[in-house]
């Protein structure tokens, strides 16, 4: 898909859907969408909104300049998008506005009130709410209680007793049925909804949304966009930081681009997308390429390879957490130096599969064979010594260690010092960007750099199989390009790859074979090419391959909340 295609009318489908939902428009006849949503939205109609003005905002962390003289103005009711590569200072800017950090210089005002330097809870009471990039639910509390925390922290003086209840907010955010569930048990989409619900419940008039769509795919993404759009239609101002370009295309009217803490471009989504500089620093040349044209170089002889030497064989593995079944008789094979993708919606069991292979999650039944030796019950550290390296979801780098220490920790324990140094050199050769960062604390790296570090650390162990879980999550397109280029290099050195990905087009492009999981079962196994057909892929993602009557029965009622196309 091309990014920001200028011809497309932004968000037409969503806009109509939302307009339909609004009873106030008088278009209330024959509405299919829940009419109550419209009424609720009207109830949330922002009372009075003030412009948010940032003037000459600068933020330094030690020697790092995260924001450099940024001036911005967000009009009441406007939706402003912020894009830029990882480490450009987007999240920092939101954290400055929300009061989590104080700017080193510059002022932030909301209407007539200066809010920079105020405590986050005070800033929030002025009507600014931040939805976090990584949802921060109160896991032991119920969903309703989570929203209650937000709702009850506000006793504005002179405010009329509000009549919108916690239940209303939950309903608006489509969480009504989950009100009593523990927040810790929610799936990703519901967590994102909860994050929004809590911000709404604080009565915020300016919403700061930090990558609300990250990690969502297909119908989930559409649902999330629809929700954000409907909230925006209620008259609230928004600043949206986002890598998922559909969100930017369909919701915002104006985009600013940050790079190295500086504001480098500003304009409509289409104008910004056409900007040469923006393409260079952010979108990347390859974003323009059509997915269908990518061919997989090794697919022809893939089958022979698997038959001749299976590096890893997963045979009928089941796994789960408590009463939840995450993997249901999964079979998977990876050949020597083969690249295998595992795709699927959130909650399909992809990460669990990765953890079963690396040993973090035990297999309840079935077998795992590593080079024809059984490793089913082998502890994780022993599997690591055999050559299974796992670069986990969320990177899991050691933030207080330096980059160099992180890498050296990844080296095999038995390796001699000379061997470690040699390996370190090789990894730094693969990731030249890390070389200059060697002495920096890993926690200070940007998202892309941390991802490189996580992969580099996994490679230090001289593995035969590298598992990458959600490699591209939350990363700018250019960074993802670089990472995938690097993976090809890694494969060329004879290391097999198991890619767990949401970014299907990227991972399919480099894969020899692919698997699709749906609710813990393999619904597709084979060459990646057929999956490039989007309808075929979506079918495998959300409905599974209907192979038997049993599958048919299960497809009817879907208790685990994977959204079906409605």
């Amino acid at each position: 898909m091309s990014a920001f295609a200028p011809g497309e009318s932004p968000g037409s489908s969503i806009a109509t859907a939302v307009a339909d939902a609004r009873v106030e428009d008088g278009a209330g006849d024959g509405i299919v969408d829940v009419p109550r949503t419209g009424a609720l939205l009207a109830a949330f109609e922002a009372v009075e909104s003030s412009p948010l003005v940032l003037e000459h905002i600068t933020k330094r962390f030690g020697g790092v300049l995260a924001n450099d003289d940024i001036s911005l103005r967000v009009e009441p009711g406007e939706a402003l998008g912020i894009i830029g590569p990882n480490g450009a200072g987007k999240s920092t800017l939101l954290r400055l506005i929300s009061g989590l950090h104080a700017p080193s210089a510059g002022t932030i005002t909301l209407g007539a009130t200066r809010i920079d330097g105020l405590r986050p809870d005070v800033v929030n009471r002025h009507g600014i709410g931040l939805a976090n990039q990584i949802p921060k639910p109160f896991p032991a509390l119920s969903v309703a209680e989570n929203v209650q925390v937000a709702a009850t922290s506000h006793r504005r003086k002179g405010a009329t007793r509000a009549r919108v209840t916690v239940d209303d907010v939950l309903e608006l955010c489509q969480l009504g049925t989950r009100a009593k569930a523990r927040a810790g048990s929610l799936g990703l989409l519901d967590l994102k909804r909860l994050e929004l619900a809590r911000v709404l419940a604080t009565g915020a008039r300016v919403l700061l949304l930090d990558e609300v769509a990250a990690g969502l795919v297909g119908d989930e993404l559409t649902a999330a966009i629809q929700l954000v759009h409907s909230i925006h239609r209620s008259g609230r101002s928004m600043i949206i930081v986002e890598h998922v370009q559909r969100v930017i295309q369909e919701i915002v009217s104006r985009v600013v681009v940050l790079d190295w803490g500086k504001l480098i471009a500003e304009g409509t989504p289409a104008a910004v997308a056409a900007d040469e500089r923006v393409r260079d620093v952010y979108l990347g040349r390859r974003a323009q390429r059509e997915v269908g044209s990518v061919s997989s170089p090794h697919s022809e002889n893939a089958d022979d390879k698997v038959r001749s030497s299976a590096l890893l064989e997963v045979q009928g593995v089941c796994a789960g957490y408590g009463s939840l079944i995450a993997l249901d008789h999964v079979d998977l094979r990876i050949g020597e130096s083969e690249v295998v993708s595992v795709l699927g919606a959130n909650g399909a069991g992809k990460s669990t599969l990765a953890k079963v292979v690396s040993g973090h999650v035990p297999a309840r039944s079935g077998r795992l064979l590593w080079r024809a030796h059984e490793v089913t019950v082998l502890p994780t550290y022993k599997r690591a010594r055999l050559g299974i390296a796992h670069s986990p979801e969320g990177r899991r780098i050691f933030p207080d260690h330096t980059v160099c220490e992180n890498l050296l920790l990844g080296a095999a324990h038995s390796a001699s010092r000379a061997r470690r140094t040699e390996r370190l050199e090789w990894v730094l050769g693969v990731f030249p960007a890390l070389r200059t960062l060697g002495a920096r604390r890993a926690g200070l790296l940007s998202g892309g750099e941390q991802q490189m570090l996580a992969i580099g650390r996994a490679l230090m162990a001289e593995p035969s199989l590298l598992i990458c879980d959600e490699l591209s999550l939350g990363l700018a397109p250019t960074i993802v390009d670089t990472l995938y280029d690097t993976l090809l290099e890694v494969r060329a050195s004879g290391i097999a790859l198991l890619l767990i990905e949401q970014n299907t087009s990227r991972s399919l492009a480099v894969s020899d074979r692919a698997y699709v999981l749906h609710r813990g079962r393999v619904t597709y196994a084979g060459a990646p090419e057929p999956l490039l057909d989007e309808t075929f892929l979506v079918q495998r993602y959300f409905h599974g391959e209907i192979q038997s009557q049993r599958d048919l029965d299960e497809a009817g009622g879907d208790p685990r909340g994977v959204p079906t196309g409605e």
Binding site: A39, P120, D121
Partner: protein
């Protein structure tokens, strides 16, 4: 549906009732339980009275620790600081000022609360392990100070004037009232808007802050309330022990007792600390009163078993088991097992 009212009423979201329905019900149950304990004291002999008094004080102690550690997530190792301060206040006001036990205990509670507020300023800047170590350091400092302060007879300790100590029945009632106050505070703090915010701070203080919760304010309130309740329990201990020395009243053992009771009973629940106090004090300490070493051994053993096999504590385990038993009777067992999220 009040949709028209909704559409005309913009503004912030209505807060829920200050005290939730469940909290009101729990307070009602507490009143009934209190009356039952009072009746039990009437019919029971001297044994019940003295056992009850100490048990009530331990319930209060455990509950006060639970409010701070279980609800707001601040693990304190400084229970002794408040027990000691309050006990000394009670003894000193009674001997030096000639006060009776009631104003003495109130003074003890106030001084313990004030100490709590004073300590909160440095301690609330600390998090997690640092907070715990900070509270421990404060306790040890107070112990050392009282050990060397001639005003309080240094390490010789002080005594409550024996003629001013209330009788056994009065002590039983005092203990009961203190325990009821502690459990009542826990109920109000758990099932109220305050409590929901408090638990939110425990779960993720940053997110709570972003939602407009004044985190340090809440932490301060909880610390002071917990300190006052521990102070009340300390007053009961002072009146029943009559004479004591700094090393006993500022001891680490108060913290350990409270912590063990809470962990065994169920941290972060209202009933758990009561269950824990009964299990540890009545089930082990008094049953094995003649074998104090053995009793410590059993206490430690029980703690190990709980932490290993029932990590949530006894009370949540009982609730879970009961729920499971009820579910088993239902027809939808197979689907429920396959789809329900992992139990809390």
């Amino acid at each position: 549906m009040a949709t028209t009212a909704l559409s005309r009423a913009p503004g912030p979201v209505a807060p829920a009732l200050p005290l939730h329905r469940r909290g009101v019900a729990a307070l009602g149950a507490l009143v009934v339980a209190g009356a039952a304990c009072l009746a039990l004291g009437d019919v029971g002999g001297a044994g019940v009275l003295s056992l009850g008094t100490t048990l009530f004080a331990y319930v209060a102690l455990a509950q006060a620790w639970n409010i701070l550690g279980g609800f707001s997530g601040q693990m304190s190792l400084g229970v002794g600081a408040f027990v000691g301060t309050s006990a000394y206040t009670v003894a000193l006001t009674m001997t030096r000022l000639g006060w009776s036990w009631l104003p003495g205990m109130v003074a003890g509670m106030v001084v313990a609360g004030a100490l709590s507020a004073l300590l909160a300023f440095p301690l609330l800047r600390l998090k997690g392990d640092y907070f715990a170590v900070g509270t421990l350091a404060a306790t040890m400092a107070l112990d050392a100070w009282f050990d060397n302060w001639s005003f309080v007879n240094k390490s010789m300790g002080v005594s409550v004037p024996i003629q001013a100590v209330p009788g056994q029945t009065e002590m039983y009632v005092i203990g009961l009232v203190v325990a009821l106050l502690a459990v009542g505070s826990a109920i109000v703090m758990r099932w109220s808007t305050f409590g929901v915010r408090l638990l939110a701070i425990r779960e993720d203080d940053l997110a709570a802050r972003l939602m407009g919760v004044n985190v340090s304010g809440y932490r301060l309130v909880v610390m002071v309330v917990s300190g006052m309740l521990i102070g009340l329990a300390g007053g009961v201990f002072a009146l029943s022990l009559v004479s004591f020395v700094p090393d006993g009243m500022f001891a680490m053992s108060w913290t350990i007792e409270a912590l063990v009771m809470v962990v065994i009973g169920g941290m972060g629940t209202v009933i758990g600390p009561i269950v824990g106090a009964v299990a540890v004090y009545y089930g082990i300490t008094t049953e094995l009163a003649n074998f104090p070493t053995l009793s410590l051994f059993f206490e430690g053993g029980l703690l190990l078993v709980i932490v290993r096999f029932v990590p949530g504590g006894l009370w949540p385990f009982v609730v879970r088991s009961a729920r499971r038993l009820l579910e088993r009777r239902g027809p939808a067992i197979t689907t429920a097992r396959a789809t329900s999220p992992p139990s809390p």
